[in-house]
Amino acid sequence: MSSRSPDFFDEMRASDGSIRPAYRQLAHWLDTVPKDVLDYRRKEAEFIFRRIGITFAVYGDAASTERLIPFDIIPRILNRGEWQKLSRGLEQRVKALNMYLSDAYHKREILRAGIVPEELIYGNPVFRPEMNGQAVPHDIYVMIAGIDVVRVDPDNFYVLEDNARVPSGVSYMLENREIMLRLFPELFIDHPVAPVDNYADELLATLKSVAPNNSSGDPTVVLMTPGIYNSAYYEHSFLADKLGCELVEGRDMFVKGDMLYMRTTEGPKRVDVIYRRVDDDFIDPLSFRPDSMLGVPGLMSVYQAGNVTLANAVGTGIADDKAVYSYMPDIIKFYLGEEPILKNVDTWRCREPDHLKYVLDNIEKLVVKEVHGSGGYGMLIGPAADKKTIENFAAKVKAAPEGFIAQPTLALSTCPTFVEEGIAPRHVDLRPFVLTGRDRTRIVPGGLTRVALSKGSLVVNSSQGGGTKDTWVLDR
């Protein structure tokens, strides 16, 4: 039924051609279900997505219209043991990210210990001086993290990227599951799939747990969006609805004295926690970009007075850019005294002359990324690029080496995917969401699986033609 590439780890089929246990039922079903039924269901899924309006906008696209992210109806399956290892590793990693942020904005013991260079903190454009020495409620910086992981073999998960600012994509995790339950209820009878629909409850519990100490017994949580023109606006409104909280824009709130209020039909109401989906630069024109119309003037003063919690905290970018990434194994060891459970991809930092030389000498074999890029923009995949593209990119790297890192091209694992040629292996990654509250860490079993739909492609970003899959974690 499908051809298998021997160079990549196939999550369904072992190298001897046998089906891995977690996929046994699904493989059998794929063998027996008629192709036209799959085709029909796929169209149905697309119809539903279109009707509920779950779309995104592609930045930098001349014909920038709202697009539908393609949905693949074949789920990706992780067994219980795999998930347990992954979730332990995620919890460890996010704990270290939070400790690093607290340290970087206060005592900076990690600098004194010589683990990371000074410029990684002070020279970083997303280091926010405004947060220096500033206490944040309960010392938690990253309440919502999206950690991108990939597999290259049966035993290891590699972290590709940490997202500690305003990670998006969780609405797809939830919608994908709803659609699968609707289209293929029979599959859920055969598979003990761990639920994800409690995500909103877990998120709300997390957000309430980090409210300032002086807030009322039942803290008021709002979701702050840049507005309808933001590419993730659908997700913002979707999540606010699931959370049962107000979806607000900057102009719906105001500062009075040292407190933050939102306008309501019953008069001003104090806001305790903002789940903000607005970047640091735009949240307060009196502290950051003065031309921002998306923020609340004076919000930072309320934050500094300890009277509102921002989730995530301001200034978390220093923990998730691609330059600090290469130090993460050392950061985990430094703060936790543990070996990292999740692996890091080997990374060359172009800021270091010998690394730069290696990168320029081997650029056609490497993936080169902008330290501050995201969404697959500003990135070179050496093996897939033509000579001219490589030359141009190399010139960019040479001009500003500190802005780039390079990694080997990873042999991302593949999962069976329903494409034009039938069911074929396609490369995938996974973004699980890690919630850190005052009381505990919560990770809903699963995440957003992104799949590169073109044959051989390793780029899973939705802005670059990637699709998504439902991710199943089997409960036994």
Binding site: E118, E119, Y122, G123, P125, P129, E130, M131, N132, G133, Q134, F254, V255, K256, G257, D258, P285, L286, S287, P290, D291, P297, G298, S301, Q304, A305
Partner: protein, 275 residues
């Protein structure tokens, strides 16, 4: 020298504003060569004016006012005792290591022209840093035309450099931009300057810079006057650029037809008391 300062900003609205919020960086602090004898901050409307130290160690005052507001006045006044330290800045609150001040901002990021100019003056790094900084200061002082209408608070160093026009703020941005390009930590300083020509009343404060030289520490360069800071300079706030040290950052809600009037008076305290 004892310097007496009064700085008044009055906003008037044809249609009253419904609400206003401001963050003031208008209070000098003590360091070697600067002692604040007395200082007060007054807001015409009824509100709580909360003091707080900001990220750079500046003293800020934040207030919110409920409308209707047809006139809002912010007045600061006081006396500061100063001594000449030959431009060397010591005893101020230092929140960051000097390397932090290598960071460029949107207002200071150098273009080819500034970078080329800095490289030329520094003889591509061959010249000692202190000499380079003095030469940059003199070059700005000699070649730029002071022009209050040529630029605004959002003018970048590159724009001002291209036009060779601007005010002290633009000169400070150009100086910081070029120094940082040469890997010399530099920062923006906002404050007051007692003029040597006898002019006491003006419509704005002053701006200059500080650059860091290992072994010497922070040294204050004033490209608008072509001198290192003297006892005529009263240092109020520092930042990576104007925005970090801005005397007032604020917003009003509603209110049409805003007219703003600024009066700054800087004089020797003894001279005034003799009048």
């Amino acid at each position: 020298m004892r310097i007496r300062i009064a700085h008044e900003t009055v906003y008037r609205y044809d249609t009253p504003a419904t609400r206003a919020i401001q963050i003031l960086r208008l209070t000098p602090r003590a360091h070697d060569g600067q002692y604040v004898v007395r200082w007060r901050v007054e807001v015409s409307e009824d509100c709580r004016v909360g003091p707080r130290e900001d990220a750079f160690g500046n003293l800020t005052h934040t207030f919110t006012v409920d409308g209707p507001i047809s006139e809002l006045a912010v007045r600061v006044a006081g006396e500061v005792e100063t001594q000449d330290t030959h431009g060397i800045m010591r005893g101020a609150r230092e929140k960051f290591p000097p390397s932090f001040y290598l960071r460029q901002t949107e207002l200071t990021v150098p273009d080819q022209a500034i970078a080329g100019w800095a490289d030329e003056i520094s003889e591509n790094g061959a010249r000692p840093a202190l000499e380079t900084l003095h030469a940059m200061q003199q070059s700005i002082y000699a070649n730029f035309n002071f022009d209050v209408d040529a630029t605004a608070t959002s003018t970048t160093a590159s724009q001002a450099f291209a036009n060779k026009h601007g005010v002290c703020q633009d000169y400070a941005h150009i100086f910081c931009s070029a120094a940082r390009h040469l890997k010399i930590p530099a920062r923006y300083v906002g404050g007051y300057f007692l003029r040597g020509d006898g002019v006491i009343d003006t419509e704005s404060g002053h701006a200059w810079t500080e650059a860091f030289i290992p072994d010497l520490g922070w040294i204050a360069f004033d490209p608008a006057n072509g001198i290192c800071a003297t006892e005529a300079h009263v240092r109020v706030a520092i930042g990576l650029d104007y925005l970090g040290a801005a005397p007032v950052r604020g917003t009003r809600y509603g209110g049409l037809g805003e007219a703003m009037q600024v009066k700054v008076s800087v004089d020797q305290a003894s001279r005034q008391s003799q009048q």
